[in-house]
């Protein structure tokens, strides 16, 4: 991807409040298995970076009709402000630009099939919201040992 690529809209999809986030629960157990006990709650979100000439309204429609399950999941267009959440760490894991993103390719075609303009590219990733007293070292350990592989992923971690 070149730097001049149109900035995209990032859609974030996760379990609705009240819905059990099973992948989040499994993640807590995994985090404990590598010796980090402080995580009290974990939420896992799917991220879709839709690039190209789509308006926010069109991206919203794609998210509603394609990316999120209307019964169990919520979505939102990611903004820096974020929702009202207690302090937490947000970890993101994306495939490196050099990797072919198969899910992204399928999403790209599916958006077109909805009758919307086809995105120039779609990249996919995961976000992890970790609640609990964690330090940067522990977060890096979680990223490195459980959530990503430096061979194929780029990652970020920030406290919010």
């Amino acid at each position: 991807m070149s730097a001049t690529e149109t900035a995209g809209h990032i859609v974030e999809v996760g379990a609705k409040p009240g819905m059990s986030d099973t992948t989040g629960a499994a993640l807590i157990a995994q985090i404990q298995s590598i010796g980090v006990q402080a995580v009290q709650e974990a939420r896992v979100l799917a991220l879709y970076d839709l690039r190209g000439k789509l308006s926010a309204a069109q991206v919203t429609q794609a998210a509603k009709d394609l990316l999120a399950d209307p019964v169990t999941q919520d979505f939102r267009l990611e903004s820096r402000a974020g929702a009202f959440l207690p302090p937490h760490w947000r970890l993101e894991v994306w495939l490196k630009p050099s990797m072919t993103d198969s899910v992204g390719e399928s999403v790209k075609k599916a958006v077109r099939d909805l009758g919307l303009p086809e995105p120039s590219a779609v990249r996919t990733g995961q976000a992890y919201q970790l609640f609990g007293k964690l330090n940067k070292q522990q977060v890096d350990r979680i990223l490195e040992r459980l959530l990503s592989n430096p061979v194929i992923h780029r990652t970020s971690a920030e406290q919010r």
């Binding site: 070149s2 157990a29 072919t100 198969s102 459980l146 194929i152």
Partner: protein
């Protein structure tokens, strides 16, 4: 990407600087920096070839040699001469493959072998109309670096092997076998290596996602845990496909169009073939790593199945290791008398414009196939592909010029003599040595251990190499396509360890009048191989065939696949062990009259860490076996069915505990490795197989790791039917002096059977001549009770406790 409108330059077309005058050292340097994995003799052969032509090779040409001559594509070790020393005798082997595995198949001359060692998969007859194609592959190196993507692309690759066998077989079963370090391993993990727990969970996820998304049942497999695999996990993936017998012959004719279909070509997956031929270090090349796209492959599969019926192409092959260079190169050999192909590479469909022509030529981008299409069929094929959403392009045409010619926008990229490319690889003689390990003092009596028999049984059941694989199996869809008659998990609650699955492939073609099915079994035990690879190979064949017999398959029509995963072939003792294993395969195949139909080897499974220390895997052989089940309604599961039925044990029990679970439990050493007695084993196996197919056996299970104790426990708790066994009744050789040895011996070719009282007479008649004895009966009390030689109770364990011990490990470790 749109901002970069650079015309792709034929960078690869420029000659490589100064090959003609390069010293051996210069060549070695170039080889290392480009990652070609060619050895000195091969580099010299390429140099001499171009000196004779009085020109410099292009980058793309050298890359073509590197791919075509790679260990991955050419199996150099298995086909080159070996000087083999076994004790005092020395023997010159011209080609290990030809003299062992292929030789056995040629001598057996089975008419139902329709295509062996020739195509992308072995093909055997299934019934009058259909045949089965079977192939198993390894994807070890990619899985070590990126386990999820490595497993996915491994599955995708072996599916394409079957799709590229004949004119294309429809995949009806995926198999998966892994070797990992224990997931609760607590020792150090070297830089560049992942923790075994991570490797396991990610590989399982990759197999699951690819197989499930393509709608192919994953219903057979196994896992072996050993710390020696911590740097080199082994991932074996297999696929069985159904193909009309009329679609097995493939051809390529001069003038046929070269059509590439499926995924686009990108920079991903460069150098996979050469990468897999090199040892792993912590600087492992990463460009070989990809994530699969199962949906693309599914579309390709559906389109090809329709095109096959309409005969819109004449030949096809998958684009795997080496990409277009290997796929087009291999098909070009079939074209006319001399073979040949002319490729205009710029016509390929690309993921990116930022790709050098040589990269496009060797890229291993996934989900691609290459077809030979008669000119008059192209329009129809294009329409069909479009209707299935599959992209394709015409790359050029096959010729009869004897040359592989590739150009990019009019500029020559590759112009090579096909004969030299395929036959010119220098054959270097390697030396191999086998020395039998010195036998230690043999433990001849374990009478003093009898108080620990119950503890040992629970320990064995909870051992990682025995315990329930339900945590893994339940992630796979083993029901899709609707033809899985016997599931991988069997018994009253569908959670017992079945010997094999039984598949009814007619489910996918709608031939409901036929009840013919097939089964696949696996055999593997690297612990035996540490003592003697020959015994390991025989035991693996014996185990795979035993699994088939237990479920009601006809083992007289069993076909075998071999998958060798070995360390450094340049190390004479490693190579000696490989030779010994290959000889074991040949002798077992001849004895059991079960021909090998295909195989694969993955060598150089070594790891050199940052300190320069070399780690090698134990030589590992997976035997996969495939046989028809004449009537799937007669299939038999391994769980005991009801109380008060006689229980029979087939086969001799000897003091063979070398490499056994008991040795690990009791920390014994020096035991004799289990040895297959080929002639009697074959007789027993074939006779039992007929008796089971005649409906004379209610449940059957073969005895492996943990011996009689573990097998009896598994049958009992899976059926929730107790059993009482009198070890005094067990047929045994003279070296067996105590009940503990009888319970935990791992002598091969043994089976535990439950027989209905009203069929006992017929059963005995059918089994005449086979060494066996009635050793006990099923009982209503839910316990496993073993009575010792002196009629005292040796052990009595509750079935629910045994089952809990067996089920606990993986959920406890993996969550």
């Amino acid at each position: 990407m749109s901002a970069l409108k650079t015309e792709a330059q034929p960078r690869g077309a420029h000659p490589q600087a100064a090959w003609s005058g390069a010293s051996a050292r210069d060549l070695a340097d170039m080889n290392a920096s480009h990652g070609w994995s060619l050895d000195a003799a091969e580099l010299a052969a390429v140099q001499a070839h171009f000196q004779k032509l009085k020109r410099e090779p292009t980058r793309a040409e050298v890359e073509t040699f590197a791919q075509t001559w790679s260990e991955h594509c050419k199996h150099k070790t298995f086909t080159s001469p070996i000087l083999y020393r076994d004790g005092k005798s020395t023997k010159r082997i011209k080609s290990l493959l030809a003299e062992t595995i292929v030789d056995a198949t040629a001598r057996l001359k089975k008419p139902w072998c329709l295509s062996v060692f020739a195509d992308n998969a072995g093909i055997v007859a299934f019934d009058k109309k259909w045949a089965l194609a079977y192939k198993a592959e390894t994807h070890n190196h990619p899985c070590a670096v990126e386990p999820y993507g490595g497993a996915e692309t491994g599955v995708g690759g072996v599916i394409r092997d079957v799709l590229g066998a004949g004119l294309g077989a429809k995949p009806v079963l995926n198999t998966d076998v892994f070797c990992f370090a224990p997931p609760d391993y607590e020792g150090p993990v070297s830089p560049g290596a992942l923790h075994p727990r991570r490797t396991l969970t990610s590989v399982v996820a990759g197999v699951r996602d690819y197989g499930n998304r393509m709608g192919i049942p994953t219903a057979a497999g196994g896992v072996w845990f050993d710390e020696a695999y911590r740097h080199n996990p082994l991932v074996f993936v297999g696929t069985v496909g159904l193909i009309p017998r009329s679609a097995i012959a493939k051809a390529v004719k001069p003038g046929d169009l070269i059509v590439a279909a499926g995924g686009r070509t990108g920079r991903d997956g460069l150098h996979g073939a050469t990468f897999s031929s090199a040892a792993l270090d912590d600087q492992a090349s990463v460009s070989a790593v990809q994530i699969g796209h199962a949906i693309n492959e599914k579309r390709l599969l559906d389109a090809l199945m329709r095109a096959r019926e309409l005969r819109l192409y004449r030949g096809l092959t998958d684009c795997g290791a080496g990409g277009f260079s290997s796929a087009v190169g291999e098909m070009a050999e079939l074209s006319g008398k001399r073979g040949g192909a002319r490729v205009r590479l710029e016509a390929a469909l690309f993921k990116t414009t930022e790709i050098a022509p040589w990269e496009a030529w060797v890229s291993e981008s996934q989900e691609r196939m290459v077809l030979a299409v008669p000119k008059d069929k192209l329009a129809a094929l294009a329409d069909l592909f479009a209707s299935e959403g599959v992209e394709h392009c015409v790359l050029g045409e096959f010729t009869d010029t004897g040359r592989l010619e590739v150009s990019w926008a009019g500029e020559a990229l590759v112009d090579l003599d096909l004969k030299f490319l395929h036959k010119g690889v220098p054959r270097r003689e390697r030396s191999a040595v086998w020395e039998a390990p010195k036998a230690g003092p043999l433990v001849t009596n374990r009478r003093n251990e009898r108080a620990r028999a119950g503890e040992a049984l629970r320990w064995c059941l909870g051992h990682l190499n025995v315990c329930s694989r339900e945590w893994i199996i339940r992630q796979y869809d083993h029901e899709v396509q609707g033809g899985t008659i016997l599931k991988p998990l069997q018994g009253l609650h569908h959670d017992g360890p079945g010997d094999a699955c039984v598949i009814w492939p007619q489910a996918v073609v709608g031939e409901e009048g036929s009840f013919r099915g097939f089964s696949v079994g696996h055999g593997m035990n690297p612990s035996y191989g540490r003592i003697d690879p020959y015994a390991m190979a025989q035991a693996a064949v014996d185990e795979a065939l035993s699994n088939l017999a237990c479920v009601g398959a006809d083992v007289s029509q069993a076909a075998l696949l071999d998958n060798f995963c070995w360390g450094d072939p340049e190390d004479p003792s490693e190579l000696g062990r490989l030779v010994r294993a290959a000889q074991g395969c040949r002798d077992a195949a001849l004895a059991f009259q079960a021909p090998f139909i295909s195989g694969k080897d993955s060598l150089n499974n070594t790891y050199t860490d940052a300190k320069g220390l070399k780690h090698s895997i134990p030589g590992t052989l997976l035997i996969s076996a495939l046989a028809p089940v004449p009537d799937v309604r007669q299939a038999v599961t391994m769980d005991f069915k009801t109380a008060n039925n006689p229980v029979y044990l087939v086969g001799w029990t000897s003091n063979e505990l070398g490499g056994s679970l008991w040795e690990a439990f009791a920390q014994e050493k020096g035991g004799a490795v289990p040895v297959v007695e080929p002639r009697s084993a074959k007789e027993a196996l074939w006779t039992l197989s007929s008796a089971i197919r005649a409906g004379l056996v209610m449940s059957a299970h073969d005895l492996r790791e943990g011996g009689l104790a573990v097998a009896a426990a598994e049958m009992a708790f899976s059926g929730e039917v107790g059993v009482q066994i009198d070890v005094d009744l067990v047929p045994r050789t003279r070296d067996v002096a105590d009940p503990v040895t009888i319970l935990f011996s791992e002598s091969p070719s043994r089976f535990l059977l439950e027989v209905s009282p009203d069929k006992e007479k017929a059963f005995l008649k059918a089994m005449k001549g086979v060494p066996m004895a009635r050793v006990g009966k099923t009982i209503a009390n839910p316990v496993l009770r073993v009575v010792g030689l002196d009629s005292r109770t040796l052990l009595e364990e509750r079935l629910n406790e045994l089952k809990a011990a067996w089920q606990a490990p993986l959920p406890r470790i993996l969550g």
